[in-house]
Symmetry: C2
Subunit: 143 residues, 2 copies
Amino acid sequence: MAEPRSNSEIASALRPAVLRLSRRLRQMRDESLDLSATQLGAMGVLFRGGEMPIGEVAAQEKVQPPSMTRTVNCLVDAGLVTRTAGDTDRRQSKVKLTETGRAILLADRRRRDAWLTTRVAELSAEEKAVLRQAIVILEKVNG
Amino acid sequence: MAEPRSNSEIASALRPAVLRLSRRLRQMRDESLDLSATQLGAMGVLFRGGEMPIGEVAAQEKVQPPSMTRTVNCLVDAGLVTRTAGDTDRRQSKVKLTETGRAILLADRRRRDAWLTTRVAELSAEEKAVLRQAIVILEKVNG
DNA sequence: TATTGTTATACTCTATAACTATA
DNA sequence: TATAGTTATAGAGTATAACAATA
């Protein structure tokens, strides 16, 4: 599968590559004892976007609302995010990173990305350039 | 995150992109009622590599042996693969796609990749070229 | 009635630890 | 003793369905 040409060939080659890498990335948790990849993802959304409704976090992470409720519950219990009722619309619960959450997110990212950063560092400059561009494309593909 | 530059910035941007896309890819199962992404992955290894010990399938898919035992059990029950004791070393159990398995794999891939293929098709020729190269790099990063 | 979120529930994936059988 | 695989067990992640509260 060195040269997939058609759209479906690209899709067929991309799928296992992404699935295998994601498996590895989830396991990296063992090195950072605090956060799961899922929790880190949700916190990352809040880091970038600031305070927002829980539904928006779910949408950005491409999970269903009940899944994000569960993740946020864990983070609230750990004191990493706060959940407050919306002021204009009280159905919403606005979620926000705490200062502790922000600090732990940054520390955890550094530790967690150790493996992946090492792997990336071993690539050539050309390969890194391709990867940089590919990240944007992957996000685009994902909708 | 349009222009990550350092190795760790690339890692930090790549991680969520891969995790979110993998989530989506696992959900695609709903459209193809037969195989999970995990099962499809294992079958894909056998499709490419022919008959091999179960440990080898696990290694290629980057999962631990007990996880692959479980996956293979399901596939055997469904008649999609066969498991036979090794002839030279009877500790091994060699696994092989059945003809049915091969046919279902190919049919399922076509159906399952429908979403991803559509997304890929919407990319420009340049973006597809980047993605083609990136797939190889992702596999390399993954070890 | 429609929307936002939560609760209840169930299933898949995956891992680690302990075990069996063979080398 | 070492290796290949399986069994037993546990935990995380995710979904759907049903519900509550608010708009």
